[in-house]
């Protein structure tokens, strides 16, 4: 599969995430769109890792060139899990104070 197909597919997913952040006002949906962007990047990293491995595979069948990218994706997932727990705690806190998940209430952070 040509790598440009993967790049364009991941760019489409990433752009949908960006549009979601711009368009929606519900804080939880905005947060979900950030997750979508993270996943698009993850998939692109794996596709590039297989691209580099494919070149090395021709000369050495057991080559592990490109395995670092997949470990990197693993760490992105670890950080995303930690980020979601803190982010959802912040959203719950915000809901408790304003009784709404509308991000427009956050334009006056003071007080």
């Amino acid at each position: 599969m040509p790598i440009s197909n993967y790049i364009i597919f991941c760019l489409t997913l990433f752009t949908i995430g960006i549009i979601g952040v711009l368009v929606r006002r519900n804080a939880i949906i905005v947060f979900m769109c950030i997750e979508l962007m993270l996943n698009a990047v993850n998939l692109l990293l794996v596709a590039f890792s297989k691209m580099h491995n494919g070149v090395a595979y021709l000369s050495d069948k057991s080559s592990i060139v490109g395995a670092e990218a997949q470990v990197f994706v693993f760490f992105i997932m670890v950080v995303a899990a930690a980020e979601v727990s803190v982010g959802l705690a912040i959203i719950v806190m915000m809901y408790r104070n304003t009784h709404s998940v509308d991000i427009n209430f956050l334009n006056r952070l003071k007080n």
Binding site: F9, V23, R24, L36, M51, V65, E68, I90, S100
Partner: protein, 173 residues
């Protein structure tokens, strides 16, 4: 057009349509369910790329743990179609147009790039995605970041508890 290409295009179109449905759905619960569909499609892509470990971790961590957390929060707040705040139509249009412009610029950039001409992502072969290979790399070259991530989890847990704790000062007001 062989089987792998058919699977690729099916999974890609399924993921894009589900991602659009995440934005279009009025009810947050439906958005979460569509996002789970996107994660399943992306896991299918990982399997296609022979990255089996990441496919399973994606399902367990994202579709299993993180989305359940989202569902819990939505359930706790009792969000539904009626409480969903909406932006005005012009801001929505402006967001969609600016996102479309970004996509157009990036795609034209990819089409012009000569570095990726004729480069292929290897499908179905190679064993770098298997648990054995990744585990060896993770516990030799990346053992320090792996241990540091446990500290990150601890701090995230403490942070979530501290933020989520009821503040007695706010209760009195």
């Amino acid at each position: 057009m062989n089987l792998i290409q058919i699977i690729f295009w099916f999974l890609s179109s399924f993921a894009v349509i589900s991602a659009i449905m995440v934005l279009v759905s009025k009810s947050p619960v439906h958005s979460v369910l569509w996002l789970i569909a996107v994660f399943f499609a992306i896991s299918g892509h990982y399997i296609l790329l022979n990255a089996q470990f990441l496919a399973i971790v994606n399902l367990i961590v994202y579709a299993g743990a993180i989305m359940v957390l989202f569902l819990f929060v939505i359930m706790m707040m009792n969000l539904n179609k009626d409480t969903d705040p909406q932006k005005n139509i012009w801001i929505k249009l402006a967001g969609a147009v600016s996102g479309g412009c970004l996509l157009m610029v990036l795609v034209s950039l990819v089409k012009q790039a000569t570095e990726i001409n004729g480069k292929e992502a290897m499908l179905g072969k190679g064993d770098i995605g298997l648990i054995g290979t990744l585990g060896k790399v993770l516990f030799t070259d990346f053992v320090v970041p792996f241990e540091i991530s446990s500290v990150l989890f601890l701090s995230a847990m403490v942070g979530a508890v501290v933020i989520g704790k009821k503040d007695s000062k706010l209760e009195n007001n």
